[in-house]
């Protein structure tokens, strides 16, 4: 790297030659004013505010876009510079309304700050221009007031370069130039048009003036608030942001630059906080008395629960009890829940909804590679040469990761998308393999067939790191592109093209989600992904890997902390005598070495009355689990049901006792994101009414059961976790404070692990190829149910909508359950766009609004699973034998007019 010496304001600095004057000045702590600059964007120099004097140059130069040269002499605050900046500010002011008195941006506005700093006279020499009068309030989440716009173009760049959406542009010319945003014209019903605003708010969060502002009813001044850094409670990306709080109320969310999301957020992260203070919140413990919920004291509620636990255990044995933990709750709370079930109930019947999303990942990757988690990190996206995105609608389910992939593709990386729908990413892909739902194994085998035939596999890597490659060849040899094309309904050439794109580059990464896992052979689908990556040497290297995108904020952590029926925290088997002994000593009770039942089996047990009592924390199986009718029967059959939640969910409606918990904003703790990064959450507001954090409630229950639970703070719980969980052993709150850390981290001098298997597959010795034959879904279309239903998530809602339904703008954006259907299929059933229809499977019926779209194949339909009485009325509870994940992604349905 070439270093050059630059003199700025009589100080010398030596820096890399490719840096700019602005960056050089920053090294010297010299502040140069900017409007349009952002270190994540290509500099444009459009606002001119950063001009400086460079010795020998004819004009003033823009510091943000001028590279340093050796021997350069720069003055950042000389008289000509100050005069020029004043001129710019005066011109801006002449076309900016004098509304600081009422503008909500006041106190956080660069124009205001610089005008003060540079002594701008509000009645300056220029006549008032007021040329821009455009006001756009069509978006539900923010407004654009072009009168206040200074046309710096930052929003245009952020939308194009960072969010990679391109919804914002300049319109008209000369004095009439203004920012214009392509908005969705009708209620979107979940349709994401390309190049149309997705309301991520990244432009709003970065507007230097008051032109782009969030819609808000809260009145606050920027100097009246406090800011608390925490972790987003929605998807598994684990975005870092600050909650802006006034009078114990969250009034705005500000993203944090650097770290996981580097300042980007999605619509839910930026605008989805209003559920915290929603009037629907549960406020007091409730006990069902004569069919009605009655407010009671915490003592009464907890005493009843403890009494019922003891009674049920005495009468029916420990295995008649079960607990459902929560991927929404913190690591500490998941730890306490599994401890309560194991030590308090005396059974391993503890599970959570990872069973419905990534159980097959945990099972499939642990047995082939050694660890069931994302191998690589989010920041490594920026080094990948080819992405294979399979069964993941990334831009809607993990929007920030989706944007990062788009950024990389824009820079020239290849993208292969494999999905039954033409999702947003498919539109910019080199190849889109629009496969029939449930045919992942066939397509993977087809890709491997081509890679093998063309000699594109990495034989050195295979010899050194893996076993059973020969067995794999035996199986994949039958999967010719011709055969696979037929099974999957894609073209032979596309298979060949995709195989080459994936195998020929240096760094190829697989990103996958529910499209791979939620099948009755889900574990095999996952293993197929492992085969493909191993064959090409794409595991154990930076920017490669097998990357399961975890759906919920802490689903990784809930698994890590042992909210699973077969393992203690840190994936330590309950059947291992030594491990059992370790936990018995730590917890001071005898523990069961019998593997507990998984969530779907628990539901069967409940409907057979083999399980009598269930304690559900922060889960909503009445909406999230397959075959709602079956779940309802199971839960109503219980003798006693405890539900601990923040809202009265469909599941809570069936409870005997409801315990009101707090939201993420009202408690401390840690979440583990999809890339294994353990990040802090911090209390920003005091709990409302009579609500309590989940960890406190669980501690109280444990104490009442006579267990040792002397936790004064949630940090005490975390310290107990690290003492018992080797992969978390090196963590403490202090070390996690800044940017979090990634497991495994075995000791407190270990830096954490950016990507797994850099030293080979030490846990298993060698990675294992698992030859897998294609087996279709359990239920296929037939005469009575002729259509294939596949399910998924949308951008505007999260999981069972418990939170997003209480954010008015999100609710309005996607108010109805919908079904996506191709034009031909719609014609066949004579149904129209926006008409409501009845969709039925062998298990139930659901009502949905028709969306005719060209993004889905004939004979296939799609529904989101967020809605109660929606897709999961229809889905098939057929289970994967290995990990018990249900086949949520494929079932057979029919459509009738309402």
């Amino acid at each position: 790297m070439n270093k050059v010496k630059v003199k700025i304001n009589e100080q010398f600095v030596e820096i890399d030659h490719h840096l700019t004057i602005l960056e050089a000045a920053k090294e010297l702590n010299i502040d140069i004013p900017t409007f349009c600059h952002d270190e994540r964007l290509n500099p444009t120099g459009s606002c001119r505010m950063c001009v400086v004097e460079v010795e020998g140059a004819r004009n003033l130069m823009t510091a943000c876009s001028t590279q340093v040269r050796d021997g350069m002499v720069v003055k950042t605050h000389s008289t000509p510079v100050i005069e020029a900046r004043k001129g710019i500010l005066e011109l801006m002011w002449a076309n900016h309304p004098n509304e600081c008195l009422t503008c909500e941006k006041a106190g956080n506005c660069k124009l205001q700050d610089y005008s003060y700093q540079y002594d701008i006279d509000p009645d300056s020499l220029y006549p008032r221009l007021d040329s821009r009068k455009y006001f756009d309030d069509t978006n539900r989440f923010y407004t654009l007031d072009s009168r206040k716009c200074i046309l710096c173009g930052k929003c245009v760049q952020i939308c194009a370069e960072l969010q990679v959406n391109g919804a914002i542009g300049f319109e008209d010319r000369g004095i009439d130039t203004r920012i214009s945003i392509k908005q969705n014209e009708e209620p979107t019903d979940g349709v994401i048009d390309p190049y149309t605003c997705v309301s991520c708010g990244n432009c709003v969060n970065n507007c230097p003036v008051g032109a782009l502002m969030p819609k808000s009813k809260e009145k606050f001044r920027n100097w009246e608030v406090k800011k608390v850094k925490t972790t987003c409670p929605y998807c598994g990306v684990g975005c870092q942001f600050e909650l802006v709080v006034k009078d114990n109320k969250v009034v705005r969310v500000d993203p944090v630059k650097g770290g996981t999301n580097d300042g980007l957020l999605c619509v839910k992260g930026t605008f989805g906080y209003k559920f915290i203070n929603h009037p629907d919140r549960l406020t007091h413990p409730l006990i069902r008395k004569n069919g009605e919920f009655v407010k009671v004291s915490w003592d009464e509620a907890l005493d009843l629960i403890v009494e019922k636990i003891k009674e049920t255990k005495d009468k029916y044995g420990a295995n008649a009890l079960a607990g459902l933990s929560s991927a929404k709750c913190s690591n500490e709370e998941n730890y306490l829940m599994q401890k309560l079930v194991r030590a308090g109930f005396g059974t391993n019947n503890v599970d959570h909804c990872a069973r419905l999303c990534h159980a097959s990942t945990v099972a499939g990757l642990a047995t082939t590679l050694g660890s069931g988690a994302m191998t690589n990190s989010i920041s490594e996206i920026d080094g990948t040469d080819t992405f294979l995105v399979i069964g993941s609608n990334t831009t809607e389910t993990h929007p920030v990761i989706g944007s990062m992939i788009k950024q990389r593709v824009k820079k020239g990386a290849h993208l292969i998308v494999c999905d039954p729908r033409q999702i947003e990413l498919a539109k910019m892909a080199d190849v889109h393999l629009q496969i029939k739902p449930g045919t992942n194994v066939a397509i993977a085998n087809g890709l491997m067939h081509v890679i093998y035939q063309e000699g594109l596999y990495d034989i050195d890597y295979i010899d050194k790191n893996t076993t059973c490659f020969k067995d794999l060849i035996e199986v994949i040899k039958d999967y010719t592109p011709a055969r696979v094309a037929k099974i999957c309904g894609v073209s032979e050439n596309d298979i060949i093209k995709a195989a080459r794109l994936y195998a020929k580059v240096n760094k190829a990464a697989i990103y996958y989600a529910m499209g791979i896992t939620q099948h009755s052979h889900g574990t095999n689908h996952v293993k197929s992904m492992a085969n493909l990556a191993l064959m090409t040497g794409n595991v154990g290297k930076e920017s490669t890997g097998i990357n399961p995108l975890r759906g919920q904020n802490n689903v990784q952590g809930a698994c890590d902390l042992g909210a699973l029926p077969n393992v203690y925290p840190g994936y330590q088997a309950v059947t291992d005598v030594n491990i059992q002994k370790k936990f018995e000593e730590a917890w001071g009770v005898k523990l069961s070495n019998e593997v507990g039942h998984t969530l779907p089996i628990m539901m069967n047990d409940a409907s057979n009355q083999d399980i009598r009592l269930m304690y559900i924390m922060g889960e909503n199986p009445m909406v999230s689990d397959p075959d709602t009718n079956h779940i309802k029967k199971a839960l109503t059959n219980l003798d006693f049901l405890v539900v601990q939640d923040i809202f009265l969910t469909k599941t809570a409606e069936l409870a005997d006792v409801i315990l009101p918990a707090v939201t993420y904003a009202e408690k401390d703790g840690t979440f583990t994101n999809t890339e294994r990064r353990v990040q802090r959450i911090r209390k920003a507001v005091e709990p409302q009414s009579d609500t309590r954090p989940d960890w406190e409630i669980l501690t109280d229950v444990m104490k009442r059961l006579g267990l040792k639970a002397d936790y004064k703070t949630v940090e005490d719980v975390f310290n107990e976790i690290t003492s018992l969980t080797p992969i978390y052993a090196g963590f403490d709150y202090q070390r996690l404070n800044e940017n979090g850390m990634q497991w495994p981290c075995p000791s407190n001098d270990h830096p954490g692990t950016k990507f797994l298997y850099s030293d080979g597959f030490t846990k298993l010795g060698k990675a294992i190829f698992t030859p897998i034959h294609f087996m279709g879904p359990k239920e296929n279309p037939d005469h009575d149910y002729p259509l294939i239903l596949t399910t998924g998530r949308t951008l505007y809602h999260f999981h069972t909508k418990t939170m997003t339904d209480r954010v008015e703008a999100l609710k309005q954006t996607l108010p109805n359950n919908f079904i996506q259907i191709s034009l031909n299929t719609a014609k066949q059933y004579q149904i129209n766009h926006n008409e409501f229809v009845l969709v039925s499977s062998r298990r139930g019926t659901s009502k949905a609004k028709v969306q005719i779209t060209d993004t889905i194949n004939d004979g296939v339909v799609f529904m989101p699973f967020h809605f109660a009485d929606g897709a999961n009325m229809l889905t098939n509870p057929a289970l994967d034998e290995i990990c018990n994940i249900p086949e949520l992604k494929v079932c057979a349905v029919k459509i009738e007019k309402c």
């Binding site: 194009a160 959406n165 391109g166 919804a167 392509k182 390309p194 190049y195």
Partner: protein, 157 residues
């Protein structure tokens, strides 16, 4: 809008797009083609071009609204342009503009109700020696005086 956008015209546009795709910057020639085919580039056409060229609507709208040669509403059958470049301006072009507006009974930049004429804002046409210059479609008239305006326009009625 239905008369402006017909299947036949759309087909012609698609053929142009296919041809332009080979070029390095396909957007400008495509927009020019669209302007020629439809007589304007309405929103629907912009969106269609965006889809075909994988270009953002925001950018296309920016280009269309930037250049005066594009319009989003249909223009008249004949385009009347009074050059307001420096030379013509000095030679009294503004008076000619006023006269054209008076005769056609429409403001500057608008189209007559019968769809026959549009007064297009026009900068230097490169024929300053003949200033002031009036252009109607591809025809140029030099050293025009106010009295001639009505006569010239009548030729196109």
């Amino acid at each position: 809008m239905n008369e402006i956008i017909t299947t036949k015209k759309m087909k012609e546009l698609d053929e142009c797009i296919e041809r332009n795709k080979m070029k390095k910057g396909p957007l400008m020639p495509t927009l020019q083609d669209a302007q020629r085919i439809f007589g304007c580039v309405p929103k629907e056409v912009q969106e269609h071009i965006g889809k075909k060229l994988n270009e953002s609507y925001a950018k296309i709208k920016g280009v269309v609204s930037f250049y005066t040669m594009f319009s989003t509403k249909p223009k008249g059958k004949h385009i009347v342009g009074v050059c307001t470049g420096t030379a013509c301006y000095v030679k009294g072009a503004q008076k000619l503009v006023d006269k054209v507006c008076e005769v056609l009974k429409i403001p500057y930049g608008e189209t007559t109700k019968d769809g026959l004429f549009t007064i297009a804002p026009t900068r230097c046409v490169g024929n300053c020696g003949e200033a002031p210059v009036v252009m109607i479609d591809e025809d140029q008239y030099g050293r025009v005086t106010i009295d001639q305006i009505e006569e010239i326009l009548n030729k196109y009625k």
